[in-house]
């Protein structure tokens, strides 16, 4: 690989992911679920609209997860597949999805960590399937290039930068 590979997803992929996450939120009685890719980009948000800046949140989530990944390796674990940050009122549960994404669940006292973890496990399995199918379909696996999207748009690119 000469550089970082791109990936893309279609509207139908997006709908499938949303449907899955909405079902999970209902079952777990959690407030909000975000799907973030490991490089810190926000992929989807479902449930209550967060009051914070979701992009900043996504970048911190990815950093948090990556840092913990390294900590796991240092103590001889292959990974921490999930993490929990528990607050007095608000808590978050983070779980790995397809080794490329992170599911972040925000929940409060209306539910329990146990229920979120239990339902989260099933949701992660379902999301893994969706992403595996998505990566297979695009052919080159998770690193499918997005090259060509802006083909012939050189003039537009030049114009953008004056």
């Amino acid at each position: 690989m000469t550089g970082a590979a791109s990936w893309s997803f279609s509207e139908s992929d997006f709908k499938q992911i949303q449907t899955q996450l909405q079902a999970f939120l209902r079952e777990a009685n959690a407030r909000c679920a975000l799907l973030v890719d490991r490089t810190g980009q926000l992929v989807a948000t479902v449930g209550e609209t967060p009051a914070f800046d979701p992009m900043a949140f996504a970048s911190l989530t990815a950093a948090d997860f990556s840092a913990n990944d390294q900590l796991a390796k240092m103590i001889g674990e292959a990974e921490f597949a999930s993490l929990v940050h528990q607050g007095e009122k608000e808590s978050m549960f983070l779980a790995d999805v397809a080794k490329r994404l992170i599911l972040v669940v925000l929940f409060d006292q209306r539910t329990t960590l146990g229920l979120v973890k239990l339902k989260g496990k099933t949701a992660v399995e379902q999301l893994n399937k969706i992403f595996a199918a998505m990566f297979n379909r695009v052919g080159a696996g998770p690193a499918a290039p997005a090259k060509g999207l802006l083909e012939g748009a050189e003039d537009e690119i030049d114009k953008l930068f004056g």
Partner: protein, 224 residues
């Protein structure tokens, strides 16, 4: 790793500002933050120590405009420059689409520049990326200081060029930043590539947007 979201019609790309400690990486982002219209940028996050040294990263999302109906959103990151923080520095490089190396022009910082550049090569190689093939711009910062080294000395130390062995790429390519200069040229019988460079005084904002434009344009061109 640019991410294309066809549902929200967005192209998201990741740019990382690398370089030695106190070289001006955070200052670059702060200037961009202060000049970009609030509706075209997000919140700037800085994970810094009490003395304002970057501990993990700074983060700033910026919208640069629309191409083919897609909003182009660049996520700008800095890394901690201090040698000590290599473990966290490496994490930030994951999925990078374009790199800016912010070099400190001061003669006294030459060794720190070289060490940081070597560290960048090592860290990107660990991810399997090739620095000679991904969008990469070198910014010589602090050009206003009396002890700034001449650009040609900085170029010789930090950007000496790399041999181009692929016959298909052995052709002259103009430097995208400096008209009249070459990014790929024949040097003493060997085809050689060089990263484009910019000159800056980030604290005044000079050259900051030139650098951002140069690298983001290179990133978008990889999608065309």
């Amino acid at each position: 790793m640019s991410m294309i979201n066809y549902a929200s019609r967005e192209i998201n790309c990741k740019l990382v500002y690398y370089g030695p400690g106190l070289g001006g990486k955070t200052t670059n982002l702060e200037h961009i933050y202060s000049k970009v219209a609030p509706n075209s940028r997000g919140k700037m996050i800085s994970l810094a120590t009490e003395t304002e040294r970057t501990l993990f990263f700074d983060f700033l999302p910026v919208d640069l405009g629309t191409i083919r109906g897609f909003k182009t959103r660049f996520h700008l990151y800095t890394v901690p420059g201090q040698v000590y923080y290599n473990a966290s520095r490496k994490l930030i490089l994951k999925g990078v689409d374009g790199l800016v190396f912010v070099a400190d022009s001061q003669i006294e910082r030459m060794e720190a520049n070289v060490e940081s550049m070597q560290n960048l090569y090592d860290n990107v190689a660990e991810y399997g990326y090739d620095l000679t093939k991904i969008p990469f711009v070198i910014q010589y910062n602090k050009r206003d200081l009396p002890n700034a080294a001449p650009v040609k000395d900085l170029q010789a130390s930090l950007n000496p060029g790399w041999p181009i062995e692929d016959p298909a790429l052995q052709k002259p390519v103009p430097d995208p930043v400096h008209p009249g200069q070459m990014a790929v040229s024949l040097v003493s019988g060997q085809w050689t590539g060089r990263a484009p460079y910019t000159e800056a005084v980030a604290i005044r904002g000079d050259g900051v947007f030139d650098t951002l434009k140069a690298v983001s344009k290179m990133v978008l061109k990889t999608l065309s």
